[in-house]
């Protein structure tokens, strides 16, 4: 791990790898997404790939998708076998002269042939995850990639290095990596492999033509954005509507859950003031001492159960809802990218139609480019449609699981409290001093 990224000033800004990035809100910037959305193989200015390669790479994308579809159909008979397992754990503080950050241990186990070994252990920081996701987005602009936890935002008293914050982040990073490793297409990504296997990521992060292409792309993207897409297919319009609505619902659920957690915390606070009053009163009394202490004991046990229930909300339901809130942004982003790809094609088509057949050579070039873009559009659409279905299934499964788990935990909570009070009641059924054998006189 390097102490600081060694890059020139401009590129630093583009790639947003500043040291204090943790303090900024992440990834709501559409222009950045758009900039990276255009395939890395489309270039302007400094040509790296030839137009021929353009076609090939688009084609290979289609082929790739076709291959994956077959594999999925095969696997649909049973559970798709996972051949790549990842975990993120052991957060540790890493102190350098310039900054302090958390480093996580990433373990990977695999049976895949394309990996040299079956087990890997590397150390990654949050920035590295950002890099990985960025790369995946570049390579698969219309796939729905699971979101990363947000950058740290100074909110009230939450410490950047508080245990809760780090743990929450670790779990989200774990989810991100697991879902990526499970994704048919993404798990084959070379960047993922590099992320999981290379000890030193710094060198790899520095290299690659993608910097330049990104620069070019953002210029081009700006030009297209002005025009916008013209004939968006109806199904994608429906997806857009869904994404907007879904985003609202997730946001609302996220807020409601946060509110419940807050109210529950305040309830626990009051309970902790209320409970000892019974013990205190018990000290004053003689005969009443026992039942009063009994009630204090019950309140104590119920209080602990409430804490457990609260913990479950905070660790299971809340993070899941929040992640799907972030997902809803990804949905919108992916749809926007698809629109841009189509808009690009439409622009090229317009150029083709409007330009007089001046030079035969130019016309041919334009035709080839248009064809290439058309294929890109088709590929992007197929990729998106397929991944949309996959994402929908995963979303329903995840949310259902989280909600079922929460309802189950709540039911369990009430059952436990019920038992506590019933035990107390039982103890009061035979008050001391009143024997049923009739030998002892009643008080």
């Amino acid at each position: 791990m390097s102490a600081a990224p060694v890059l020139s000033g401009d590129l630093e800004e583009d790639l947003d790898l500043e040291e204090d990035e943790d303090l900024e809100v992440f990834s709501k910037n559409p222009s950045l997404a758009v900039g990276s959305s255009v395939s890395s193989s489309v270039v302007q200015g400094a040509l790296v790939h030839s137009p021929g390669a353009l076609v090939r790479s688009s084609g290979s994308m289609v082929n790739q998708y076709g291959l994956e579809e077959e594999e999925e159909e095969e696997a649909r008979g049973g559970v798709p076998t996972k051949d790549l397992f990842v975990t993120v754990d052991h957060p540790e503080s890493h102190v350098t002269a310039i900054e302090t950050f958390i480093v996580y241990r990433v373990l990977a186990r695999t049976t895949r042939g394309d990996f040299d070994s079956s087990e890997y252990e590397v150390h990654r920081r949050y920035q590295d995850f950002l890099w990985l996701r960025g790369k995946l987005e570049e390579a698969h602009p219309t796939l729905i990639i699971h979101p990363l936890p947000e950058k740290f935002v100074m909110k009230g008293l939450v410490e950047r290095f508080s245990e809760d914050f780090i743990e929450t982040r670790r779990r989200a990073l774990q989810t991100f990596l697991s879902k990526t490793a499970e994704h048919q297409l993404l798990s084959r990504s070379p960047q993922l492999k590099v992320f999981l296997t290379e000890q030193d990521l710094t060198a790899i992060k520095k290299q690659g033509p993608s910097f330049l292409s990104r620069m070019g792309d953002s210029v081009r993207a700006a030009a297209i954005a002005v025009r916008g897409v013209r004939a968006r297919p109806q199904e994608f319009g429906a997806m857009q509507d869904y994404a907007d609505e879904f985003s609202c619902k997730m946001s609302a659920l996220d807020k409601v859950t946060q509110r419940i957690i807050k109210e529950q915390n305040e309830y626990l606070e009051e309970l902790s003031q209320y409970r000892p009053l019974y013990s205190q009163w018990a000290e004053l009394e003689v005969d009443l001492s026992e039942p009063l202490r009994g009630v204090a004991g019950c309140l104590d046990l119920c209080g602990r159960e409430t804490e457990e229930q609260l913990r479950h909300l905070t660790e299971v339901l809340q993070p899941t809802l929040h992640q799907y809130l972030l997902c809803s942004d990804t949905l919108k982003t992916v749809l926007r990218r698809r629109d841009h790809i189509q808009a690009e094609f439409e622009a090229k088509n317009d150029a083709l139609a409007s330009s007089a057949a001046s030079k035969k050579g130019d016309l041919e070039t334009l035709k080839e480019e248009a064809a290439g873009l058309e294929e890109r559009v088709e590929a992007a659409n197929s990729a998106l449609k397929g991944d949309w279905a996959r994402w929908g299934d995963a979303m329903r499964t995840d949310l259902r699981e989280a909600l079922v788990s929460t309802a189950d935990k709540n039911q369990d909570y009430y059952e436990k409290c019920l038992a506590v009070w019933e035990t107390f009641l039982l103890s009061q059924k035979t008050p001391p001093g009143q024997e049923e054998d009739g030998l002892r006189p009643t008080k």
């Binding site: 009051e270 209320y274 019974y278 009163w281 005969d287 019950c298 909600l403």
Partner: protein
């Protein structure tokens, strides 16, 4: 649904009244040194409490309009006091109940009368004048129907307690309160009880200046302070907890709304979400009933919060009568010393007469004789006063100690019962919660 307050059985009350034969002299404590007018207010006859012969309840409430003392229109609530003799009629049926209407202020007068007339008794408190310890949703308005209903229950409880008390239940004014709608107020004011109330100032100086109060009453007074402190703290904390619990439940109602809206969006999950939403709405609504029922527990605690004050009043009465005894004793002592000085001629205590006689010479023997005679009279009066005060004090201690024991046993029973009731409420709440979340889980599984 009307709730009736627990009535101690007649049998138990007879026990608590104490065996008259145990008393020194074997006399009925109620006939012993009471002032004349009190004797006429006591019903001669049975020693069992009124409640064994008369069923008493506060059946209904009504709003009335009338003019108050300042001739201004006001709205107030009246309560229907029903009484029914427990003897069966000739045909084996219970007679129809008699009833009359009473206002809260009349109950208040009755209680003030009982407090003054029976200073050795820990007199049951009335339900609170104004709603206190309210958690935010509960109305503090005296006209609020829920508050009126809880007050009705409290007034019934009060009447049932006094009519089953071994001493109080025999009071004639109490009987008239239950049976004579008109003329009762005149009767109670005629007893002149208001004049007999001890002056606050006197009671206060007694507390500070009494030298040898009965240790048991000092302890009991300390206990009453603690009891008051604990119950009031508990009531305050309970209200805050109720407030928070209300918040938790109500926020779940928002889940209901969002699930419903979300269900429109989803094809597969729609049904499950929709029904889950309904359950969340029901869950949020359930807290209203839960907390309303929980008020009963609060009322039970409040009764003992106010009982603490009544207990303290009995202890202060002891301090006062003991103080008065001590004062009478000191007065007698000083008179006796004066007589001694006069008889022996020695001046032990400083007195103006003594000084002037020293300065201006002894007085004439006739004057001395006259003064001596006066002193003897005063001493004999003083001795009588001391005797009266002593017996007053003893009677009070005797009666008060018996009633304090009765009160303690009643308190232990009642509070234990209240705690059991509290546990039952918690259980009911938990059962509802289990049901609710189990149903919700089923809905989620269908998603």
């Amino acid at each position: 649904m009307r709730r009736t307050s627990p009535t101690p059985t007649a049998g138990r009350m007879a026990e608590d009244g104490g065996d008259p034969s145990e008393r020194p002299g074997g006399s009925d404590p109620m006939e012993d040194p009471l002032e004349d007018h009190q004797r006429t207010t006591v019903m001669v006859g049975s020693t069992s409490a009124l409640s064994s012969r008369l069923e008493v309840s506060v059946a209904e409430t009504e709003k009335r309009n009338g003019k108050n003392a300042m001739n201004m229109q006001e709205t107030f609530t009246v309560y229907l006091v029903e009484t029914r003799p427990m003897e069966l009629l000739a045909d084996g049926r219970l007679p129809a109940p008699d009833s009359l209407w009473r206002r809260y202020s009349e109950f208040d007068i009755l209680r003030s009368y009982l407090l003054v007339t029976y200073p050795a008794i820990v007199v049951s408190p009335l339900p609170e004048k104004r709603a206190e310890f309210v958690w935010h949703k509960l109305s503090a308005d005296n006209m609020d129907p829920d508050f009126v209903e809880r007050r009705r229950v409290g007034l019934e409880n009060f009447l049932q307690r006094v009519t089953s008390h071994p001493v109080l239940s025999h009071d004639n004014i109490l009987y008239q309160f239950l049976t004579e709608e008109h003329g009762w107020k005149e009767a109670v004011y005629d007893t002149g009880f208001q004049d007999k109330a001890d002056s606050r100032l006197r009671a206060l100086s007694a507390t500070f200046r009494v030298r040898n109060p009965d240790k048991r009453f000092v302890e009991m007074k300390h206990y009453s302070d603690e009891l008051q402190s604990h119950t009031s703290q508990l009531l305050r904390a309970r209200a805050r907890v109720a407030d928070r619990l209300y918040g938790v439940y109500k926020v779940h109602g928002n889940y209901g709304r969002v699930f419903s809206e979300w269900s429109v969006l989803e094809k597969q999950m729609g049904d499950g979400l929709q029904s889950a939403g309904h359950h969340m709405d029901a869950y949020a609504a359930s807290i209203d009933d839960i907390l309303e029922e929980a008020e009963h527990y609060g009322d039970q605690l409040k009764e003992y919060l106010f009982y603490a004050e009544a207990l303290r009043a009995v202890c202060r009465k002891h301090e006062l009568s003991q103080y008065e005894l001590e004062l009478a004793g000191q007065d007698l002592l000083s008179k006796k010393q004066q007589r001694e000085e006069l008889a022996t001629g020695s001046v032990r205590t400083f007195s103006l007469k003594g000084m002037t006689s020293k300065l201006f010479g002894q007085e004439a023997p006739e004057q001395r004789e006259a003064r001596l005679h006066l002193l003897e009279e005063q001493i004999s009066e003083g001795e009588q006063a001391v005797e009266e005060r002593r017996s007053e004090c003893q009677v009070h201690v005797g009666g008060a100690w018996v009633d304090v024991q009765r009160f303690r046993q009643q308190k232990d029973r009642d509070i234990r019962e209240a705690l059991i009731g509290y546990a039952l409420m918690q259980i009911s709440m938990c059962k509802k919660g289990v049901q609710m979340w189990s149903n919700t889980k089923e809905c989620f599984l269908k998603m």
